[in-house]
Structure formats: structure tokens, C-alpha cells
């Protein structure tokens, strides 16, 4: 095994990293031992602390970071197999310690990483920590999880250093360019030198393809439209992938991705625990916060029992007392099937009409302190909105042989792939399928089929590793490129009317479907940049406008067609220019090999290129900034 490839630069392993909201996982394909659709794949057991001074290997690394007090642990308690120099805890011990001391626990860092209301590079977590706790940024905490994975790999594979392998890190399909950029930046800071990003629903489909060992060609056919429903611990991610024919071969083409929905399995467990806690309170017992956490944990396993065995009517729940008296102080109650159905099936997966849309309440006052959780918990309503918005998504896809039905109000998927531990439950799978098929039947479309045999927990990591292998031309690839077109705001040249916002036009700088490693054309329009001063532009994305080309200027659009993203910021350094001088520049977009969107400002008559940054310092308010870039 010490035989490294003759070519020193050729990676032996393709490593897939699932950087999840609640768990991370690492899978790998040994490319030297794989051939065609026969792949040698493994999952790295990740060494991590499970108790003070005790390290174990687990397939999953809980995405939790704990910042201990200096007196909290004995010296040597944080010893990892590869280092004794750690002042923080990542993984299982972080999670269990944090249950007792939440003010020192960083959780859901990934959700914070794409929270447009906060500065992602500022030390803001844990958000409710007292002054003396040294906080970390959402970015830094992702760096620590990624670093832990790299170190665990290097410890287990001393003959194949991590930085010489091909690494794929997964992100939600709904991540905007800024969140993608931050993830890539975190990976680079964690020492991931050869890294590519991959969308999680695509990774889940790659894993399914790999597991079928060639059999996928029999299970899907040209014209099929695969809906991937991925409900993770903290996010719900939707994607549509079409099966097309090109030059006689089956090809997969990702045609649309959903909005970013902060809603996942953890919300479901919490909802159950609160219901049970209310039941206990009605009987005169008020669970304390510690007991509520224990109750959440008990509810999770009770939920799994009820969801996997339809004959069970109720599962007893026991919450032990915190002291050493186990029997005397326990709280006893039960979770019944009726409650489960009421909360999970009706609350999170209600059977709604295809015309249903998520309910959104106007946010009251300052809500930016916490995470912007989805306001409507119903996954099925989010799904209806997604399919409705994407009703015309297939019109442009070549080789699909798709005939859009007249008067359809939603896109008609023909097959469904589920991902995420939530769907270990046949009841939830059935509920989503029934709801979807009712929508399809109402439009006289055939019912969608279920793709069987998905690995629900590790599919994303496995699929990511397989993707790295496929990138070398060893199997079918999912094409599609970027799932949004991007625009910058241009003020229209009309006289200012006092008290009225000047009307804004949107100039397309990056069209839909840009593949990795490609450049967009240079638009004809120029912008004036003030030398030595950062200039901000409002920035928009659209997941439905597929026809716009670079240079397309929109004067009017439907409110749900364009979503405002974080501003972008360009600055021209003063070298060789007079500060304050206005220089005309063009904005040029390209998608890097790693999968991030890069914008550059190119001054007129010059070969210089200045990087345009995404402003991730928070404060997205929709207000016009005073230093808005001017249209020339």
C-alpha cells in the first residue's frame, strides 16, 4: 500500500467531504483500485473525542464546536490521536458538553455561513455567549471542522497526504455565490489545496448511480425528470435533474434548484419535544431545560420507532432525573401515533394542493439576531412552490424529448430520489409521494416513481467522492452549470424625483448554466469606479430567467423572478491613478474550476483585472446605498 502512483501529482484517492449543518462525513474512492463502474470506496471512521481524555472513531463527525473554560477540563483531556495542542473541541464531545453548557457551544455554523444578515467573517458565535467567551466566526468554525477531517485523514492514511488527493466538498444547491465563496475560502484555510464544490442533491444522485453499479440506465430513461428531495438536519434542498440523450448516450442535466430553506430533521425533533413537554406541564410537571434536551433526544428515537413500525401505537418516553437517583426522579410520558401524525405528517408534510404556497409572515422588528428559520414548516408547501416556479424549466433542455403539457401549473417530475435521515421513515416517503402524485393526477400526468436503494445518511459524502472519480472521465456526469443568472443594478438615466428611489435596471453579467471553468462574455456596458474608494453594487440572482444573455438589461421584472443577494464591492487601487478619478470598467464573470462565481472589473483600454468581492459583512437591507455604482 506504500506504493504511491508513479506520477507524484496524480491523486490516488478522490475524497468526498459532506460539510453538513449537524454532521460531517468523509468518504473516499481509491482511484487506483477502481475501474469504470466498479469502484473501491470506503468511509473514513473519524477519530474524535467522545469524553474528556477518550477518543473514538465514528462514521459521522457532529458539526459542533465547543469552547471550554480554562478550568473546565483537566490537562490532557483534549488529547487527540494526532495532537495534544487543542484548546477547543469538535465533534461528539462538543455536542454532549454543549448540551450542559450551551453558552459555549457553536452549532449550525453552516446556516450562519449563508445568513445574509450577519458578518460571516466576524467572531459572532456562539451568539448568546457572555463577554468573556472568545467567540469565533461562522467561517472559522467551518475551518475547524474541515481541519479536523483533514487531520483525521492524515492520521489514518500517512502514506497518502490529504493535500495530494482530489477533494470535493458539498454545499446546498441553494447556496448563493457568497456562501459558496466562503465555503471555498474556509476549505482553503483548512489546507484543502485541490478542492471542488458539489451541490448536495447532485451528490445524492451520484451516490445512487454508483450504488446501482450500472443498473441506473435501466431505472431511468430519456425524458425522465428526477426530483431530488434532500431534507437534512438543518436544511431542505430541492433539485431537478433531467435525463437527456446526447450523441447516443444518456446524460444527466441539472435544470433547477430550490430556494434556501432552513428547515430540517432537528426542527421536527424539537417540535415533538415541545408537544410532549406541554403534555407534561398539563399534568403539573415542568421540565427544566436540561430535561427538555433529554426529552428531545428521547423523542428522536421514539419518532424513529413510530415511523418505521406502523403497528406501534405509542412509545414510552422516560426522562431521567439529573441526580444519581434514577428511578425516583424520572419523568415518564409517552409519544403516541396520533401526536406524531398531527405534528410530523400534518405539520411538516401536510397533504396540500399544488397551488399551496409557503405562508410568510412579515418579520417584526429586529429579527436578525438569530437564524432566519423557514417561517412555514411544511416541506410539501415549499415543494409545491418550487415545482410551480419552475414550471417552464424544461423548455430549453436539449435532448430531453420533453413535451410540456398545455396549461400545466407545475413542473411534472417522473421520478423522485430522497435523501436525508428523515426519509428512513417509509411513512414520510409515502406522504411526499402521495401528495406529489395527487398534484400530477390533477393535471393528468402519470404518477412519479420512487428511486429505491438510496443510502440516506452517507450518500452525500459517498456521492462527492464518486464525483471526483467521475470528473476524470470515468462515468456519467451531471451537467447544468450554475442554476441562476446574475445581475447587477444599474440606475436608469432619468432625472431624480425628490422622495422617490431612482428606478433600477438589472444588467445580466452571468447567464444561467455556466459550467465550471468557463468565462462569460464581456458586456458592452461600462461602470464608473472611483479610484481608491470601494464602490458597491446591488446584486441579484434569478433561478427562472434562463434566456437572458450577458448584457441583457431588465427594466421590469416580477417580484419572485429576481432575488436580491448581497451587494458586491469593487475597488480600484490608486496605483498610477489619481484618487477620486472615475475610471470606466466592465464587469466580467467567470465560474472557477472549484465551482465558485468570480467577478472582475476590467478598466477600459487595460489588461488589468480587479477582483470584485461579495460583501459578506451583513446588513442586507434592500436599501439603496449612497455609494451606488453609476451607470455610464
Amino acid at each position: 500500500m506504500s506504493d504511491i502512483d508513479s506520477n507524484e501529482n496524480q491523486a490516488r484517492y478522490s475524497i468526498g467531504v459532506d460539510l453538513g449543518t449537524t454532521h460531517c462525513a468523509l468518504s473516499y474512492v481509491d482511484m487506483s483500485a477502481s475501474d469504470g463502474e466498479k469502484t473501491a470506496q470506503g468511509v473514513l471512521p473519524i477519530s474524535q473525542l467522545t469524553a474528556p481524555g477518550a477518543a473514538e472513531e465514528r462514521d459521522l463527525l457532529p458539526s459542533f464546536l465547543y469552547l471550554p473554560h480554562e478550568n473546565e477540563l483537566a490537562p490532557g483531556d483534549l488529547t487527540l490521536p494526532w495532537t495534544q495542542e487543542r484548546t477547543f473541541i469538535v465533534g461528539e464531545l462538543a455536542r454532549s458538553r454543549g448540551a450542559g453548557t450551551p453558552i459555549r457551544l457553536v452549532s449550525s455554523a453552516k446556516s450562519w455561513l449563508c445568513h445574509p444578515g450577519v458578518d460571516r467573517r466576524a467572531a459572532i458565535l456562539p451568539s448568546d455567549a457572555p463577554e468573556e467567551v472568545e467567540r469565533v466566526s461562522p467561517m472559522e468554525s467551518s475551518v475547524r471542522y474541515l481541519t479536523h477531517l483533514r487531520e483525521a485523514w492524515n492520521h489514518a492514511h500517512p502514506d497518502a497526504p490529504f493535500d495530494r488527493q482530489d477533494v470535493t466538498v458539498t454545499i446546498p444547491a441553494s447556496f448563493d455565490p457568497a456562501a459558496r465563496e466562503l465555503t471555498a475560502e474556509a476549505a482553503a484555510a483548512a489546507g484543502y489545496s485541490r478542492m471542488t464544490l458539489l451541490e448536495e442533491p447532485q451528490a445524492a444522485l451520484y451516490s445512487w448511480i454508483q450504488k446501482s453499479a450500472g443498473g441506473w440506465r435501466k431505472q431511468v430513461k430519456v425524458g425522465d425528470v428526477i426530483l431530488v428531495v434532500d431534507v437534512g438536519g438543518g436544511t431542505t434542498d430541492l433539485s431537478l435533474i433531467a435525463v437527456v440523450e446526447r450523441e447516443g448516450n444518456l446524460e444527466l442535466h441539472r435544470v433547477a434548484v430550490g430556494e434556501h430553506i432552513l428547515l430540517g430533521g432537528d426542527n421536527m425533533d424539537l417540535a415533538l419535544a415541545h408537544t410532549v413537554a406541554r403534555k407534561l406541564a398539563a399534568l403539573g410537571t415542568q421540565p427544566d431545560p436540561w430535561q427538555l434536551r433529554a426529552l428531545t433526544y428521547a423523542c428522536r428515537s421514539a419518532k424513529e420507532t413510530l415511523l418505521s413500525d406502523p403497528t406501534v401505537e405509542a412509545v414510552p418516553l422516560v426522562v431521567p432525573s439529573r441526580g444519581s437517583k434514577l428511578i425516583g426522579g424520572s419523568l415518564r410520558t409517552e409519544l403516541t401515533r396520533a401526536e406524531l401524525t398531527q405534528i410530523l405528517l400534518e405539520g411538516f408534510f401536510p397533504q396540500v394542493d399544488a397551488s399551496a404556497r409557503p405562508v410568510s409572515r412579515a418579520r417584526v422588528g429586529l429579527t436578525q439576531l438569530g437564524l432566519p428559520y423557514a417561517q412555514d414548516a411544511a416541506v410539501t408547501r415549499h415543494l409545491a412552490a418550487f415545482l410551480g416556479r419552475q414550471v417552464n424549466a424544461l423548455a430549453e433542455v436539449e435532448g430531453l424529448r420533453h413535451q410540456a403539457p398545455q396549461g400545466a401549473t407545475l413542473l411534472h417530475p417522473t421520478v423522485v430520489l430522497f435523501n436525508g435521515g428523515v426519509f428512513k421513515s417509509p411513512l414520510l416517503v409515502e406522504r411526499v409521494m402521495t401528495t406529489l402524485n395527487a398534484w400530477l393526477a390533477a393535471e393528468s400526468a402519470p404518477p412519479a416513481r420512487l428511486l429505491e436503494g438510496a443510502d440516506l445518511d452517507l450518500a452525500v459524502a459517498r456521492g462527492a467522492a464518486y464525483y471526483g472519480y467521475v470528473r476524470r472521465g470515468k462515468g456519467v456526469r451531471i451537467r447544468g452549470g450554475t442554476a441562476r443568472a446574475y445581475y447587477v443594478a444599474v440606475e436608469s438615466a432619468m432625472p431624480a424625483v425628490p422622495g422617490l428611489e431612482p428606478p433600477v435596471q438589472a444588467l445580466c453579467v452571468a447567464p444561467f448554466g455556466m459550467e465550471e471553468g468557463t468565462d462569460a462574455e464581456l458586456p458592452a456596458q461600462e461602470f464608473g469606479l472611483v479610484v481608491g474608494e470601494p464602490v458597491h453594487f446591488r446584486f441579484f440572482g434569478s433561478s427562472v430567467r434562463r434566456q437572458d444573455q450577458v448584457g441583457t438589461l431588465l427594466e421590469y421584472w416580477q417580484p419572485d423572478e429576481l432575488q436580491e443577494l448581497e451587494e458586491i464591492e469593487a475597488s480600484l487601487p490608486p496605483e498610477g491613478r489619481t484618487p477620486g478619478e472615475v475610471v470606466p470598467v466592465k464587469l466580467h464573470a467567470r465560474v472557477t474550476e472549484a465551482g465558485t462565481l468570480e467577478l472582475e472589473a476590467i478598466p477600459r483600454g487595460s489588461s488589468e483585472r480587479w477582483k470584485v468581492e461579495f460583501d459578506v459583512r451583513g446588513g442586507l437591507s434592500g436599501d439603496m446605498r449612497a455609494d451606488q455604482g453609476m451607470g455610464l
Binding site: P52, G53, A55, D77, V318, S324, L326, I327
Partner: protein, 203 residues
């Protein structure tokens, strides 16, 4: 301790079995010890230091003999570290010590049963996480089997009318359990395994 109610306690028995397997079976404990020493030389806890009063124990590969024994003995002293570790895991995940140490005389069967669920769930989780346990005999209990000459007497215990020579014909009254794999956490050298559950003080 095996002839109790087969229901809940029978299952608890699995936990006892593994625990006492390490305490009582030197060969098994040795295997655990070797497992723990082999891959991680600097990580392996200093067993000599953990043994009771190893005042004059020189650095030796063989387990230090207990100081109380006057003459060299072939019997090995089991290392308490792995046993303490397992006890710690059972307490953490199954509240095992709390349960056994509590005076249950005044509680109703329903109360005890409720707590037993918790202990059972936890014990099972600990066993599944840290051991791979398989039956010694794959035949159903009650079925008849023939033991050939040279069978493993450590793995199969003959009871009842034990006379004559192999092959022996008999009935499986218990399938037995064997631990095929043990996966205990690796410990930092400074870790004090005797604290199986730290006191908790809420500030």
C-alpha cells in the same frame, strides 16, 4: 447471576457478561489490552502506573504481577483500566451505576420498569457501539448437537451427565456469546479512568 428473569435482566446480562468478561477473563482482557497498545504506542495509557502501587515495578513488557503475590504466578492480573472505561460508558449512556446503586425496595414495578427501559436502551447502545457480539453456537436453543473430539472447551461448557468420550451428543441449553471485536475509546495518558462519572456542579 445468570439465573434471573430472562426478560429484562437476561438482556442486562449481556452487559454484565462483557463487563465481567474483561474483569474475569485474563485472555480476553489481554486481547483488549493488546488491541489498545498495538496501533497507538504513545497513546496507550501507562498500565503500570494504573496498577495498584507498582512501587518497584521495572519497565517490563509483561503485565506487572500483583505485589500481594509472594511467588511468581502464571495467573495474570487483569488491567482495571478497560473495566473502568466500560463501567464509565455504561454509566454515561445507561445510568448503570445509578440504577444498580439505587434502593429499589420501595418503588413499584411500573417505576422500576420505566427506568429499566432507559438502562436497557443505553446498555444495548454501549454494547452495539463497542463490541461485536455473536452467539457461540448458531443452532437454535433446544436443538441437538454433536461435539467432535478436540472441541473448544472454553467456548462450550459441558453440563449434566458428563461421562465417556467424544463425540458427545447433547442439547444446546444456551447458545453462548462471544465477543468478536472490541472497540473501546483510546485514552489520553493523563486520563483518570477511576472517575467513571464526574460530579456535576451547575453554575
Amino acid at each position: 447471576m445468570t439465573d434471573m428473569n430472562p426478560g429484562f435482566f437476561g438482556r442486562i446480562g449481556i452487559a454484565f457478561g462483557a463487563f465481567f468478561g474483561i474483569l474475569g477473563n485474563a485472555a480476553f482482557a489481554g486481547r483488549v489490552q493488546r488491541l489498545r497498545e498495538a496501533p497507538e504506542a504513545p497513546e496507550a495509557p501507562d498500565f503500570a502506573a494504573e496498577a495498584p502501587r507498582p512501587a518497584a515495578a521495572p519497565v517490563a513488557a509483561a503485565p506487572a504481577p500483583a505485589p500481594a503475590q509472594p511467588a511468581p504466578s502464571v495467573l495474570k492480573e487483569a488491567s482495571p483500566v478497560a473495566a473502568l472505561q466500560l463501567l464509565g460508558l455504561l454509566q454515561r449512556d445507561a445510568r448503570f451505576i445509578d440504577f444498580v446503586e439505587e434502593d429499589i425496595v420501595n418503588y413499584s414495578d411500573a417505576d422500576i420498569g420505566a427506568a429499566a427501559r432507559l438502562v436497557h436502551d443505553g446498555c444495548r447502545a454501549v454494547l452495539r457501539e463497542h463490541f461485536t457480539i455473536k452467539p457461540v453456537r448458531t443452532e437454535a436453543e433446544g436443538s441437538r448437537v454433536t461435539l467432535q473430539e478436540g472441541f473448544d472447551a472454553a467456548a462450550v461448557r459441558l453440563t449434566g451427565n458428563v461421562v465417556g468420550k467424544a463425540p458427545f451428543n447433547g442439547q444446546v441449553s444456551h447458545r453462548g456469546w462471544k465477543v468478536e471485536d472490541t472497540r473501546l475509546p483510546k485514552l489520553a495518558p493523563s486520563h483518570d479512568a477511576s472517575i467513571v462519572a464526574p460530579a456535576e456542579v451547575e453554575l
